[in-house]
């Protein structure tokens, strides 16, 4: 291939299933672990965040309307697409995070497996979290978990791909849509993941990915009245986390605070993240003839 100039990719945002540049026209230079220029990523603005929330709101009811079986298949499809692009992700993670090829590969493996794990949850959440309730009266009473709605999330800085997948998958598996701010240090795998999402039959707008400064865009999402919940996993600054949690109180958003200790992303995720973004609806119906 000597003598041939490679064709580089333009890294943009992922909003409503499309890949727009930031409306602000801003970009930021992304360097690899050794400080060499990799790409100019879009620096998302407040307007981009709002557009992403609008897209997420529009997509949410349709996503929740899909059967759990269908959602599970789409999450599994994401794993399939990711598997097919393994080499590209390994390369991007290796360069961006400065880790060995082996560790980059292990992160991609874990990310694929995480999609598969959550895919299987889609039609089991209601069975594990729901119930029929033996009330003292002639009523049939049952409780079902339903999605909270639109969730705004901040993905951890590292691991850039596994962290993002670990945050996004439990949000959408139950029928929520999300706006996620990707790792600011290593944003490129996130945008490449968007290409995977865009080709997995995931309805546009269910996942919206912003690249940029979490401390800049995060507070706008935290105070946005059409956001129902906040996942602060990737916020490292306690002051910013508190500021966002305070803003969230204006509309009584559900808030998942940053982990108290550095999370072990390779551990079994458990149900905690799924449970953080579902509501329980309880239905009473009379019994009788």
């Amino acid at each position: 291939m000597e003598g041939r100039l490679d064709v580089r990719k333009t890294y943009k945002l992922f909003i409503g299933g499309a890949f727009p540049r930031s409306e602000s026209g801003r970009t930021f230079a992304v360097a690899d672990a050794k400080g060499r220029f990799m790409a100019n990523a879009s620096l998302a603005s407040r307007k981009d965040a709002r557009d992403a929330v609008t897209a997420a709101r529009g997509a949410q009811s349709r996503w929740w309307d899909a059967t759990a079986y269908n959602r599970g298949q789409i999450l599994y499809r994401i794993a399939e697409m990711l598997e097919g692009r393994r080499a590209q992700f390994e390369d991007e993670i290796e360069r961006a995070e400065g880790v060995s090829a082996r560790r980059a590969g292990a992160q991609v493996d874990a990310s694929i497996d995480r999609w598969v794990w959550y895919a299987g949850w889609s039609d089991k959440i209601a069975q594990v979290l729901g119930s029929t309730n033996p009330v003292a009266g002639p009523y049939f009473n049952f409780s079902v978990p339903e999605p909270t709605g639109v969730v705004a999330a901040v993905a951890p800085q590292r691991p850039s791909l596994l962290g993002l997948v670990s945050v996004v998958a439990p949000i959408i598996v139950s029928g929520n849509s999300c706006v996620v701010i990707a790792s600011a240090e290593c944003p490129l795998p996130a945008i490449t993941l968007a290409e995977v999402l865009a080709t997995s039959d995931l309805p546009g707008g269910v996942v919206n990915i912003l690249t940029g400064a979490p401390a800049e865009i995060g507070p706008w999402l935290a105070s946005h009245a059409d956001v129902n919940a906040l996942d602060l996993t990737g916020i490292v600054d306690d002051g910013v986390a508190t500021e966002m949690a305070v803003a969230a109180a204006d509309t009584i958003k559900r808030v998942l605070p940053p982990s108290a200790s550095a999370p072990d992303w390779s551990a079994d995720p458990g149900l905690g993240r799924i449970m953080s973004f579902v509501e329980t609806t309880t239905v009473w119906h009379p019994q009788g003839v």
Partner: protein, 478 residues
Amino acid sequence: MTFDYAPAPESRAVVDIAPHYGLFIDGDFVESIDGTTFKTINPATEEVLTEVTEAGAADVERAVKAARTAYKQTWSKMPGRERAKYLYRIARIIQERSRELAVLETLDNGKPIRESRDVDIPLVAAHFFYHAGWADKIAYAGYGDKPYGVAGQISPWNFPLLMLAWKVAPALACGNTVVLKPAETTPLTALAFADICRQADLPPGVVNILTGAGQTGRLIVESPGIDKVAFTGSTEVGRQIQRAVAGTRKGLTLELGGKAANIVFDDAPIDEAIEGIVNGIFFNQGHVCCAGSRLLVQESVQDEVLDALKRRLATLRLGDPMDKNTDIGAINSPEQRARIDDLVKSGEGEGADRWSAPCALPDRGWWYPPTVFTGVTQAHRIAREEIFGPVLSVLTFRTPDEAVEKANNTPFGLSAGIWTDKGSRILWMASRLRAGVIWANTFNRFDPASPFGGYKESGFGREGGRQGLAAYVKQEVV
């Protein structure tokens, strides 16, 4: 032909109200260190019932410390099966003293004795009985079995003892100790509950009751010794609490306001629906966060429903809450009466048509006649804001889609009602309504096994059922 009712008052000889109450801390009634006193009043007669204590900062500190010590030394070390037995004891004593508690509740709150006797107090006992059984089975619920430690709890005035039970029973079952503040205007049954804890020989410090107003509540929420905050009350105070807790590692559950839609389709059993509408908004004078305060009626049956509703409302009996035939009791406080009045005036001012049931109001006390607004639009304040009184706003719809759209067009999401003969429509609606509790062909049913709580600005977390235990078990999210 009209029926006259002879007065049928419940006897108040069954209660013995002391002239003054201190605070219940570490198993004893003690005098305040730095608090003041205030009076609690019977809203039906304006009679001063007694003087209670407004706990100060030093009192809160003492109570939190007692709860911490009891948690460390006693309650967290006790096997679940023993905690269970204490809760069973409490349930039994509540049953034994149920008439006294019902009378006390009605005197302090103004709700009809029929409701405190037949709804509130039986549910209180049931709630302790249900959670007693969980105490040695928490690990089976699926949320882990690690309690938070000390829970700070603030309960409202509309169902004083029932809301205390919703907070205290699961907290103790899961192994927490509590500091609870009952509402300012209705402290008496919480103080009676303190005495019940003593009769049950509950270890000192496991339950601490601090009477007071907003400032006492704030001190509890902000105390560094509190691990978990649970609040039932207005959305505005809920916001302040969520802000105060932000950035701390305290757990938080909120059960806030509502503006529930009660949706009546043209195929509904109209007579049953009328009873459901009446129960939905006029139960407990409409002082119910999950009240069906917005009636959404399908256009084709609008006239039939409204005529039947007005006929039914004209038969409701408003008056002495202690009378066993009373349907509508007193408004809990003059402040609440003023709030209702303000919103009703806004409804008139914004052009909705007001109708109030023709009934005489007693000379003393605070009252409000059952009121219905028609010609209400979604923009009216009476369709958007929680009134927390016996005022119903009627809107109409044509299609199920429109009903869902209008029902969800509110920042709240606590409850909803659906009246239709069609089962498939109920389930279709139920999955689209953004509300935590949905009553189909019934309304305002409660049970300790049934989770209760809201979406959106109606708060988060559930009370009751297996799901309600999650509020009192500390979970780490990976």
